[in-house]
Symmetry: C2
Subunit: 190 residues, 2 copies
């Protein structure tokens, strides 16, 4: 067989970019073809289920990244006073990197807003439930009283920061919100 032009990981990363850019409905197969360099035949070879399966694969990829880089470190935080603070600083750093300082939106958040949500409701809900739970566990271990409420505020704040920085076309707004949220978390830990 001919060599694959793209590894599966590269392919999924590019699919993610297309879905982030155009949304699920707006991501036409021709846009996907242009972004990946793969013809329709190749795409259907990799994803017999079509666009639905492509989006599912991208969501699973995003989920795996957050599980490894964000949720697990938060959950594995010890009880030493400094640990939760460091874990939360690491989370904010990871988030800033992942979202390219506000230049990249959250695919899961975008899917949550439109009718796409119904198709991928389970994956969308899971992403947020697990993020909030992992962050709340870390905060609780740091002695925060209303850990669950604060975790919800921080996760919502990050999503809002992405909307705002895209709307204002100002990635600096994302950084400002991230720092404000991190400060809010650190104040609660102190």
């Amino acid at each position: 067989m001919p060599a694959a032009l793209l590894s599966r990981d590269d392919l999924i990363a590019r699919l993610g970019d297309v879905f982030r850019e155009h949304g699920f409905e707006g991501a036409s197969l021709s846009a996907i073809t242009a972004a990946t360099g793969l013809g329709k035949g190749s795409l259907y070879n990799h994803f017999p289920g079509g666009k639905d399966e492509m989006a599912t694969a991208v969501l699973a990829h995003v989920d795996a990244w957050f599980e490894h880089e964000v949720y697990a470190p938060l959950r594995d935080t010890g009880r030493d006073a400094e640990d939760p603070r460091q874990a939360i600083a690491a989370m904010f750093a990871a988030v800033d990197t992942y979202f390219r300082g506000g230049g990249r939106i959250c695919l899961v958040g975008a899917f949550a807003l439109d009718a796409t949500r119904d198709r991928f409701a389970a994956a969308v809900q899971d992403y947020f439930v697990r993020w909030i739970a992992a962050l709340a566990a870390c905060l609780r271990r740091g002695g925060v009283k209303h850990a669950r409420a604060l975790a919800e505020t921080i996760v919502a704040g990050i999503q809002g920061a992405l909307v705002l920085s895209r709307a204002l076309n100002d990635t600096a707004a994302f950084g400002r919100q991230l720092r404000q949220l991190q400060h809010q978390a650190e104040s609660a830990l102190a």
Copy 2:
């Protein structure tokens, strides 16, 4: 001429529902026809520019609502200690009503996230710029030091709360975030 089946305001309201539900790309003319009861001929009679003009009209309608119900009251707040507090409480009440307690998303925020943003960038940016400016002016009049930063946090927080409540399929999350943000504003005013 035949009587209009729908007033222009009703028509625009229904168009808004369709765009909120499906996004700009996902809002097909057949979905619009189904939601409005109007055939293509009627729709193109009202909006010769097609979907673009429909979305522009909806955004203008949203803008007018927020200008009248949210921005103007915030800007017109006096300098009495109680005024900014009341104006901000009124803003949160208006926001809760408009977004149906979290059951309705923000069309402008949704447009900000996908590629639609480029088409309507000016209207999208304007909505957020004016909201933040009006809220910051009110906070500043209430003696808040970093009024602009807090205003940004609150507006971003509202957008994030909408994403979260849709993602979790839990409108109660929207109410919780709204109360938290209002408390944050009131603490800064005190």
